[in-house]
């Protein structure tokens, strides 16, 4: 039986705090899964019909398969009509807090910015949507021209010589860097260089990518006062085994490491390679260039800084830009222009080969091209300035919130900052996670706490970007004040939050992952059909 409304659940989920006005109440449908809406025999006529003559000639072709190679039991997919499927997904989308859904100030390191809808229209054009990557180059000149155009602009923004769009996301970009560093040392018979240096406040994809490429990772911790690695710590980490350094600039703390060019020199002097992660590029566009800092390679997240958008967690896209000496190691194919037409060059003998299929995330590269065109150099510079101004305004105002402090207080922050609710926690017992759940009741995106390791207690890492108005920022700030006041007055409100969201917070009481259903077929085995457990 399809259950449409569960009065018991509804009564239980209401708390006496639910009526406190936060200016928002999340849209909540009593929506069951498609499996629970299934009516056997429901069929949607979607596919092209088959011609009688072709059917007659080929009927029974499936039966020619040996029994062992044939599907024995039809897949237990839900059987639901087209209008019901659409309504289901519309409701699911309404129960999702997208960038456009409300004030979106909090998600540090993620660069939540406005994604121009023109670019979505462009990606849906048949001229892009219907391209096959193996068509002759002559048929792909338009899209290759746009990709090459972005390549030229990113070279300029990075201060580098060549660009690849092969990596699929930021982590994949760091991985591409690690593979090129490996190839570089192998080509020079320096196989003993098996140590990669990184910083604990660099994005975790940097150490993970280095490890995936076979390097041993050395993580340096930032100085508690300056927030920087420091020359001496780096010197101590460098050895004849140093393959390179992979760091983020600015860091996820919003601190720009002032010694970064010196690190690059030290690593180069030791025979290592310098890879810069510019996932946090949004605050420094046209203000600094990775190449000028001494980096050999740099990666940009097109779904962050270049707005392509985030797509619920992908598809993203990444561009890796390198100095001349690393061009031979780039993944294939490489875009080339001979003055008349564009080509895909597969002939790089020292290349790391392939990191993904075909030409990369082509639609997102085109969207990023359209974004840079819409901004221009002046617009990019202004966007970075506003990301920095909005962030510093936010810092100034949030520091008035009782119980909240900022890390590295003597440093100015660029695009984001890491705060700490340690004082609030000590005073009230309310954790940053409690605080964040309560924030969800206010119609603002929950904030990013911190990557690991959590060297700042009870962390809060917002990143307002240029895409938010002062009104959005003030709404976020006002919510912080109200929640802090609640924590000091009646901490239960915050500890039991959320009260006005779609569901209450999850409970982690499983002992093994096998107790968590990741598919309906497992859920059904655990609970039976459609019966909440």
């Amino acid at each position: 039986m399809v259950k449409t409304f569960e009065p018991g659940v509804e009564a239980e989920r209401m708390t006496r705090y639910g009526e406190i006005d936060t200016g928002y109440r999340a849209p909540r449908w009593h929506e069951t899964t498609l499996y629970e809406q299934s009516r056997p025999g429901t069929v949607n006529q979607i596919l092209p019909s088959i011609e009688p003559e072709l059917a007659a000639e080929t009927t029974g072709i499936v039966d020619t398969l040996p029994a062992a190679a044939r599907r024995a039991v039809p897949p237990a997919l839900p059987e639901v009509s087209e209008p019901e499927i659409l309504r289901h997904y519309i409701r699911c989308s309404q129960m999702t807090f997208g960038y456009d859904s409300g004030s979106n100030v909090g998600v540090g390191t993620c660069t939540m910015k406005y994604s121009p809808r023109l670019n979505e229209e462009i990606a849906r054009l048949p001229k892009l949507r219907d391209l096959h990557p193996l068509e002759p180059e002559a048929a792909l000149q338009g899209v290759l021209e746009l990709m090459y155009g972005l390549r030229n602009w990113l070279r300029e923004l990075a201060g580098m010589d060549e660009v690849t769009f092969q990596p699929r996301g930021g982590g994949h970009g760091a991985y591409t860097d690690a593979l090129m560093i490996r190839a570089h040392h192998r080509a020079r018979n320096q196989n003993h260089r098996d140590e990669m240096i990184t910083c604990a406040v660099s994005h975790p994809c940097n150490p993970a990518a280095a490890a995936a490429a076979g390097f041993r990772v050395i993580s340096l911790y930032p100085d508690p006062v300056t927030g920087e690695i420091g020359i001496e710590a780096l010197r101590a980490a460098i050895s004849p085994r140093t393959a390179g350094i992979m760091v983020t600039a600015p860091y996820d703390t919003g601190v720009f490491d002032s010694k970064i060019a010196e690190y690059a020199r030290l690593v180069h002097d030791a025979g290592g390679v310098v890879s810069l992660d510019q996932a946090n590029f949004n605050g420094v566009m046209t203000r600094m260039r990775a190449g000028d800092l001494g980096a050999d390679m740099v990666h940009f997240n097109l779904h962050k800084t270049f707005s392509t958008p985030h797509g619920s967690y992908g598809p993203g896209a990444c561009a890796v830009a390198v100095k001349e000496g690393f061009v031979p190691f780039l993944p294939v194919p490489l875009l080339r222009f001979d003055g008349e037409s564009y080509h895909l060059d597969h002939d790089l003998p020292l290349s790391i080969g392939k990191v993904g299929t075909f030409l990369g995330m082509v639609p997102n590269v085109v969207k990023a091209y359209a974004y840079v065109l819409a901004m221009g150099q002046d617009g990019l510079r202004a966007a970075s300035e506003w990301a920095v101004i909005n962030n510093n305004y936010l810092i100034r105002k949030l520091l008035e919130v009782r119980g909240l402090a900022i890390s590295y207080p003597n440093r100015r922050k660029l695009q984001e900052a890491r705060f700490t609710l340690r004082k609030l926690f000590e005073d009230t017992g309310v954790t940053t996670t409690d605080f964040n759940y309560r924030l969800a009741d206010f119609g603002v995106a929950t904030y990013f706490e911190s990557h690991v390791p959590r060297i700042i207690d009870e962390p809060v890492t917002p990143e307002p970007t240029e895409g938010q108005s002062k009104r959005d920022l003030d709404r976020f700030i006002a919510a912080f004040h109200q929640i802090s006041a609640e924590a000091y007055r009646e901490p239960e409100i915050v500890k039991t939050a959320p009260h006005r969201c779609i569901v209450r917070r999850e409970v982690h009481d499983y002992r093994s992952l096998t107790e968590v259903p990741f598919t309906w077929r497992v859920w059904r085995r655990m609970h039976g059909d459609g019966q909440p457990g």
Partner: protein, 463 residues
Amino acid sequence: MTEALVHRFIPNSSPGMREAMLAEIGVDSVDRIYEEIPAGLRFEGKLDLPHAPMSEADVGRLVSAALERDRTAAEYLSFLGAGCYDHYSPALLGEVMGRSEFLTAYTGTEVTDHGRFMAMFEYQSMMGDLLEMDVVGSAVYDGATASGDALQMASRVTGRRQLVLPELIDPDRFRVMLNYLDPWFDVVRVKHEPATGIIDLADLRAKVSERTAAVYLENPGYLGVVETQAAEISRIAHAKGALLIAGVNPTSLGVLAPPGQYDCDIACGDGQSLGLPMACGGTRLGILACKNEDRFTRALPMLMVGILRTSVPGERAYTSHALFHRIFYGTREAARSISGTSAFLMAIGAGVYMALLGPRGMRDLGATNMQRAGYAMAHLNKLPGVRAPVFAAPHFNEFLVDFSATGRSVADINQALLQKGILGGKDVSVEFPEFGQVALYCVTETRTQAEIDWLVHVLAEVL
């Protein structure tokens, strides 16, 4: 100059706001803040890129004009596949994938993004039913990276280093896999039967040992051949304590045996064929699934959406946040995983596709693809000097066509077809020279009988 710039994507750039906000911050210029970047490193020059912002209309016109220079597969009559497939895309996909909330969400939690995680759980569930596998991860980048992840997983689960792979796999995919395996693993290639293209079991038995972490098979294979002995291959692997990994095309699974049916341990594949746009090969969906055993689930290098309970009895929280310890967000270098932002929007779209088709539609899809490809093979094979398929085995929607006996090269024939507005199959004579002048043709449910007849007619003319 930028002081006065008002830009449509920057709400605060309206006049007067900058001064007001800088005053609140307590600085006279944003340049004071940029002094955090050491003077020698601050860039103050001009870059060689357009300076002024451009209006929406102008951007649209310029980008569209460039794309007009393309000629799409839809403007030709296309028989290209080889990993990127032209399947019918139902209208609902565009509607759902275009929803602003799905398009622009990113991290979120179970209390803010209940609907998005529910849609992802449903994708995993439907993919699980199609594969007959109990655990499905949310998404990785594409089919090639999914294969690489699967191989790494197998080694972690078994503690063994050797991986047995067939000879006949996409060379580009193999290069991706090699990157994932280097420097951790050894690769052993297993022969195929020359007549059928399926795995040579005698060679497989000789190569699988107690050192083998996994045997990897593709079903259907790169050259369209259905691996009819998957169950036997599975037994051979398991007898030595090795795992079975199957790379599959999900559109085939309405008719072909799903990996779960032959006791597969880890399944992988590319979901672009589930009605997602070809998009010049971009924005794909990497599928990864495994058995519901703790040792496998713990090794899945990706986010997964599961159901946890909440403090309210009977309430479900759809969530991926409990599971971060398996990926780099949780454990940095210890995770050794490289999948970050992956392909959730593609997974939601693939979910819509599977829901619309249902069990009956998936069967019809598989059958139609086999029938249309079968029709094409039969009629191409009648052309003098043309042999289709090369392998005497069941095929799904791709097959090798051998033109060697015509005395013409595939490159030459494809050029002649192109003149007639036809994109012939991928020239694989360079990748597999041992097969002669062969091309990999793809026929999906979107190629009509008339179009196939036209291909045969034109080939008869140009050969």
